[in-house]
């Protein structure tokens, strides 16, 4: 469970942690009274970065500079401002517990992941076959993107059938019936038309009429967004069980002749599903629960990938692969950092990293840059291709298979990080 700082000492520790991030590695932390600016410790750029970092770490957005008080320049003044804000009514103090001040709520009921499942397209093709289909020189996809095989939906499969298989696995693991569902949160970047994907899933599963379907966008970040929404829904009375499901069948849209192979050849077909519950039995192996959610949109990279369907059914694609790969690496790393700041959990303590994988080469670079141990990252894109929203979902299923049965002190948190065009970034920490 996330516990945002409440006491002055805890607030002070958070501020000192942020200073450690901002200051050069070999710098000593300043005394509480030392002025960061006049002492030359921080310039105005680093000062603002520090204040933003503290706001995020404390879960107090727009804390500084809103009420006319000058932005703090010492640890002591920052502690005072934050302490006052936490105890002020505007941050929802109720019985001494700050509520709005802690968006990552202290969720003792929380949102437990009790079931999961992934379903991949039934056909396996080698990247050489994909090269040939798209008219690329043999070996292009393997060399440039690290893709060895791709999963493709068979003729009988589509988003609904793949997602249904994944959902059945998730329900079975959670020992719940479809009749227990309160919500179906569904996300897909390839499903088009009406009834929508969520409604079709609802019908396909024969969920009860009282179960509410909700379509969630976000492209490859869809699963992470669904987790954030599920957590919010489960905090309300009357909601106990949420099914999160994603499915993407790229092979029917990103086809040769419509998109270049350097883009279309990266994608595979697949689905995943998760059962998220409010309650969990008290055992030595409690299920993972949603601890922290972070996210945002870095519009600075928005032109690196733009895709839309034209009226004549052709596809307008603006794809700058190198720029997009750089942006993905930057933002996936940023997401991990944000999760660390918000949760207080370090990536070194993690059991696994369920990452979106635009392609395998990007993952190789990210592993080096973010210092992620290879054995803690389930690789999906190398053997399946980029599965859209289901990429990090499939990786999470693999991680949960490995670690969910372990007792609590033998496992660490799972970091989930994903990006999508926009560029949208989302992260979830399970603990």
């Amino acid at each position: 469970m996330n516990t945002n700082p409440k006491t002055p000492d805890e607030i002070r520790d958070s501020i000192r942690n942020c200073l450690r991030l901002i200051l050069p590695v070999d710098s000593e932390l300043p005394a509480d009274e030392k002025n960061w600016i006049t002492s030359g410790l921080l310039d105005s750029m680093a000062h603002v970065e520090l204040l933003l970092c503290v706001e995020r770490a404390l879960g107090l957005p727009s804390l500084f500079g809103q009420k006319g008080s000058a932005p703090p320049r010492t640890i002591r003044s920052a502690v005072e401002i934050a302490g006052a804000a936490i105890s002020r009514a505007e941050y929802g103090v109720a019985g001494g517990t700050a509520t709005r001040a802690m968006p990552e709520k202290n969720s003792s009921a929380a949102a437990f992941i009790t079931g999961w499942g992934a379903s991949l397209g039934g056909t396996i093709i080698t990247s050489e076959i994909a090269d040939a289909e798209f008219g690329l020189p043999a070996g292009t996809l393997k060399e440039r993107a690290g893709i060895e095989t791709l999963r493709r939906a068979t003729q009988e499969e589509d988003e609904i059938s793949l997602a249904r298989n994944a959902a059945h696995d998730a329900l079975q693991k959670s020992v719940l019936s479809v009749q227990d569902l309160d919500w179906v949160l569904a996300t897909s970047e390839t499903f088009q038309g009406f009834p929508s994907f969520a409604a079709r899933m609802h019908t396909s599963l024969l969920a009860p009429q009282s179960c509410r379907p909700l379509d969630v966008g976000g492209g490859c970040t869809g699963i992470a967004k669904c987790f954030a929404i599920a957590e919010a829904f489960l905090s309300r009375p009357g909601t106990r069980n949420v099914l999160v499901v994603s499915a993407d069948v790229h092979s029917r849209i990103l086809v040769p002749g419509k998109v270049p192979g350097e883009f279309g050849g990266l994608f595979g077909d697949g689905a995943c599903a998760f059962l998220i519950n409010r309650d969990a039995a008290a055992t030595s192996t409690p299920p993972y629960s949603i601890h922290s959610c972070v996210g945002g949109c870095a519009g600075m990279y928005s032109s690196a990938l733009q895709l839309r369907r034209r009226a004549d059914d052709s596809i307008s694609l603006n794809f700058r692969g190198e720029a997009l790969a750089q942006a993905a690496i930057d933002l996936l790393e940023k997401t991990l950092g944000e999760l660390e700041i918000r949760s207080g959990k370090s990536r070194e303590s993690a059991s696994a990293f369920a990452m979106h994988q635009p392609n395998h080469r990007v993952m190789e670079i990210l592993l080096r840059r973010a210092k992620l141990p290879r054995d803690k990252v389930p690789f999906i894109a190398q053997s399946c291709g980029n599965l859209g929203a289901s990429t990090c979902g499939a990786a999470l299923c693999a991680a949960l298979d490995m670690y969910s049965a372990k007792v609590r002190n033998e496992r660490g948190p799972i970091f989930l990080a994903t990006v999508a065009p926009g560029v949208i970034w989302d992260g979830v920490l399970l603990d």
Partner: protein, 242 residues
């Protein structure tokens, strides 16, 4: 002597950084005249749009501040109106997309903030212009810092750029001195910029920004900053604030 059209006068610790544009065959090129032994001018007696003759000597500058030149003497030749300056800037270093601003990938702040930096060895220059679609001032860190977010014509966003443009900084300072109740100042400034100033900028036919890079930090980051925002603030806009 080399004639420069002064395009940037920016606040730098204890002084000003100056850039001018020099006429070349097919347009203009940015040149950063710097006094001997330092990068900043303690005083700079000219304004943007002034045509100034400099005695310039090129010296081996460090990446990516290739525009640096040592300046030893200077005199004013005349003045170009703001519209003419912007027209000339559009013939200097310009970019339609972020990646082309400095010829390299831009990175988000490693600490999770909104600021953006370039790697010194990757950047091909340290100043570039761009057309802008929208602008938003962030004044909650005032007086320590003024920030601005821009949307380029491409739709890409440059978030939270520190504003170092002397004219805009002085304009905000002058508004601040107008307001007796300092406790409400950041909110009042926010409202004024959000409702009035940003509208004036959007309506202007000479909407244009010049983005600069800081000198490399110890960590090897050249942060992006807003060197110039056109149109420049008008004195009469202060009346709307009061």
């Amino acid at each position: 002597m080399t004639e420069l059209l002064i395009s940037e006068i920016t606040r730098m610790r204890g002084g000003f950084c100056v850039i001018g544009i020099k006429k070349e065959n097919e347009g203009f090129r940015s040149v950063r005249p710097v006094p001997l032994h330092t990068f900043r001018w303690p005083q700079f007696p000219y304004s943007r749009g002034d045509r100034v003759d400099f005695s310039l000597v090129k010296f081996p500058s460090s990446r990516p501040h290739f525009e640096d030149c040592s300046a030893s003497s200077h005199r004013k030749l005349g003045t170009v109106p703001e519209g003419g300056l912007v027209d000339s800037l559009k013939q200097a270093e310009v970019a339609d997309i972020l990646e082309d601003l400095f010829g390299c990938h831009l990175h988000p702040s490693p600490t999770g903030g909104d600021s953006v930096f370039a790697i010194p060895d990757a950047a091909k220059r340290s100043i570039s212009g761009c057309g802008i679609r929208s602008v938003q001032f962030i004044l909650r860190f005032y007086p320590d810092s003024i920030r601005v977010s821009l949307t380029l014509n491409s739709g890409e966003v440059l978030p939270s750029l520190p504003v170092v443009d002397r004219d805009w900084c002085e304009f905000v300072d002058s508004l601040a001195t107008q307001k007796a109740n300092r406790k409400q100042l950041p909110r009042r400034l926010d409202t004024f910029f959000g409702t009035f100033i940003e509208q004036q900028i959007l309506l202007s036919p000479i909407r244009f920004a010049r983005i600069g890079l800081t000198r490399p930090t110890r960590e090897g980051h050249c942060w992006l900053m807003l060197d110039s925002l056109f149109p420049l603030p008008r004195p009469e806009w202060r009346d709307a604030f009061s």
